[in-house]
């Protein structure tokens, strides 16, 4: 069932694929970033696949490997009842850490791309409103990255009208580095 999807992709867009595979019954295709929107559009619109739902969009941080991030799209077709996982691998340098947005294809990409930006720092070029969604605006860093410590401290946010205190505790807490290298 879903194996046909991989055959379909290999037939229609062989240049877009980096690799295909399956694990415990899930079909996975890794595509190049340049061809991502093309592949997603094809999967959404083609009569054979009709993947009309972007079920989930997330990022996996393989710290230590190159490229570091994998942006994972779970696609589902309600009429055809098949699923496919599309992945794109990107690095973490400033010029590298981006992916074209899928908001033009499915509305569900809007919020899930905001979440991916918030928690992983992956930009989505063309997103209409890429801002944090789960964390507050003054949050520093991207918490789900593997090098963000589990017990990280954040800078204190001072109310604009409140005076700066000289309290030693405040000074200490305001150190935004976590002392525990974990």
């Amino acid at each position: 069932m879903a194996a046909r999807l991989l055959e379909f992709l290999t037939r229609e867009r062989p240049a877009a694929l980096v690799e295909t595979g399956a694990h415990v019954g899930d079909e996975i295709a890794v595509v190049h970033r340049e061809h991502l929107v093309e592949v997603l559009t094809l999967l959404r619109d083609h009569a054979e696949t009709k993947m009309n739902m972007l079920s989930d969009l997330t990022v996996v941080d393989y710290l230590g490997q190159q490229p570091r991030f994998e942006v994972v799209y779970q696609l589902y077709s309600i009429p055809r009842k098949h699923r496919l996982r599309i992945k794109v691998r990107i690095g973490d340098d400033d010029g590298e850490c981006w992916v074209p947005t899928a908001t033009g294809l499915w509305h569900s990409a809007n919020w899930s791309e905001r979440e991916a930006w918030d928690l992983y720092g992956v930009r989505f070029e063309g997103h209409p409103d890429l801002r944090r969604i789960l964390m507050y605006e003054e949050f520093v860093g991207h918490p789900l990255r593997k090098d963000y410590p589990q017990n990280g401290r954040q800078p204190l946010i001072r109310r604009p009208d409140a005076p700066a205190t000289d309290d030693q505790t405040t000074r200490l807490l305001a150190d935004s580095h976590d002392r525990r290298v974990s």
């Binding site: 415990v24 996975i28 739902m53 996996v60 509305h107 569900s108 919020w111 789960l134």
Partner: protein, 436 residues
């Protein structure tokens, strides 16, 4: 100088048509003295500014803390910004340092009104990675279905009664809560807790049902049915309820699918997608149950789908209680299940196995899997990346109500402030699941 007397006392007429006076005002509107009337006429012609109004996050109707920033013009909403994340507790980050069994209390607190369904969903994802889905004993599968469907009943009751309470129908709220208490009594008997059960384990469930569960369940389900019938009598043809819910918050099927709607919200748009029927898992194929579909996609449709689903879930539970076989409640695999306590305390092998299971976690081979079940709000998915150790490398929960809440903006823009509450209530956004 005495105050001018009004020219005539206010008239209240039985026939509305004959009381529309020169200015087009209808019966019931008081006629004002000329000085005040001038003022009122001027006020009608004055331009009004749009106002930014904040709803939440601390608001009785913003379930699970959501902040909606509204730009309103009078009563109608011109634009809205739905801000979630107030209940973000770092579920994914915590999962990365917890063993698979330690994650069960975390998943309980995702959709905390139907925790059993989260338990089952997560357990199935890990079992998929381990490759032991076929080895789960049948009794364990039936138990999972029973507690899962009871949780679904509780979920739908929560949504409906909370919505009704916000509309002003407190009676239904109390009756619905009574019904929920019955469900929680049953689940407390089974797991020890009313809401956050941590009852499932990888490979089965933690322990068997109580001996009197069958009898108690029948009694309780009858009571729940009675209460649901009563609620429906109060609500289904209630003028106020219909006026506020029918046609309000409507979304088309195409939009809904594009937004990633699943579950009752999608079925209310006419799309017949239910994971239990389309991709049957566990023992759902053995049951005879229907999937209620509505067409309008509005609040009323969502309400009707949910209240019908309660009945269908109860049907499933009753069939499961009949079909459930005796047997083990957890897979017989020493790499997955803890050894019996008798062995743990009396033999070194049992002690070592228990020790390493708890401290290291059960080891899941390297790989990844996306496993999906029908949660209370729709397709509850878990995307787990395993690295061979006893702790997941990544544990992503696909939250059904996150995608549903994303559509809230579209639903309330153009509606009135008073519509925000029923629309939001009918979507059943659970903060724990949306924000994780």
């Amino acid at each position: 100088m005495s105050a001018p007397t009004p020219t005539s006392p206010p008239r209240i007429a039985s026939n509305a048509a004959e009381t529309i006076d020169a200015r087009g005002r209808q019966a019931g509107e008081l006629s004002l003295p000329p000085s005040l009337q001038q003022f009122a006429d001027d006020a009608e012609r004055l331009p009004t500014d749009e106002l930014i109004v904040n709803m939440g996050p601390s608001h009785p109707a913003m379930h699970g803390t959501v902040r909606i920033v509204l730009r309103i013009d009078g009563e109608s909403i011109k634009d809205a910004d739905v801000q979630v994340g107030y209940l973000h507790r770092g579920f994914e980050k915590e999962s990365e340092s917890a063993t698979y069994t330690q994650i069960f209390p975390y998943v309980d607190r995702l959709n905390y009104v139907s925790p059993m369904l989260n338990n089952v969903g997560f357990a199935m994802a890990v079992e998929k990675l381990l490759g032991i889905t076929a080895q789960i004993p049948e009794r364990a599968e039936y138990i999972r279905v029973i507690v899962g469907e009871l949780a679904r009943v509780a979920d739908h009751l929560t949504c409906i009664t909370a919505s009704l309470a916000e509309l002003g129908g407190l009676t239904a709220f109390f009756w619905g809560n009574r019904a929920r208490e019955h469900i929680w009594d049953l689940l407390e008997d089974v797991s020890g807790a009313r809401m956050t059960h941590s009852y499932c384990r990888i490979g089965g469930v933690a322990w068997d049902l109580t001996r009197d569960f069958d009898a108690k369940c029948k009694v309780k389900l009858a009571k729940v049915r009675g209460l649901v019938v009563d609620i429906r009598k109060l609500v289904d043809r209630n003028r106020i309820f219909l006026d506020r819910m029918e046609g309000v918050g409507a979304i088309s099927a195409d939009d809904a699918i594009s937004y990633g709607f699943t579950g009752p919200c999608l079925r209310a748009c006419g799309v017949a997608y239910d994971v239990r029927k389309d991709h049957p898992y566990s023992v759902y194929e053995h049951f005879d149950f229907d999937i209620p579909i509505a067409d309008a996609g509005d609040n009323l449709a969502r309400y009707l789908v949910r209240i019908e689903e309660i009945e269908q879930s109860m049907r499933i539970v009753e069939q499961a209680l009949v079909q459930i076989p005796p047997g083990a409640v957890i897979v017989d695999d020493p790499l997955v299940a803890l050894p019996a306590k008798r062995e743990v305390y009396n033999s070194i092998e049992g002690m070592i196995a228990h020790f390493k299971h708890i401290m290291d976690g059960l080891r899941v081979p390297v790989g990844e899997a996306y496993s999906y079940t029908e949660g209370g709000n729709g397709e509850l998915g878990f995307y787990i990346v395993a690295d061979g150790s006893g702790r997941p490398y990544k544990n992503r929960c696909r939250p059904p109500c996150f995608y549903i809440t994303a559509a809230l903006r579209q639903l309330i823009v153009g509606a009135n402030i008073a519509d925000v509450v029923p629309i939001f209530g009918s979507l059943n956004m659970i903060g724990g699941e949306c924000d994780r």
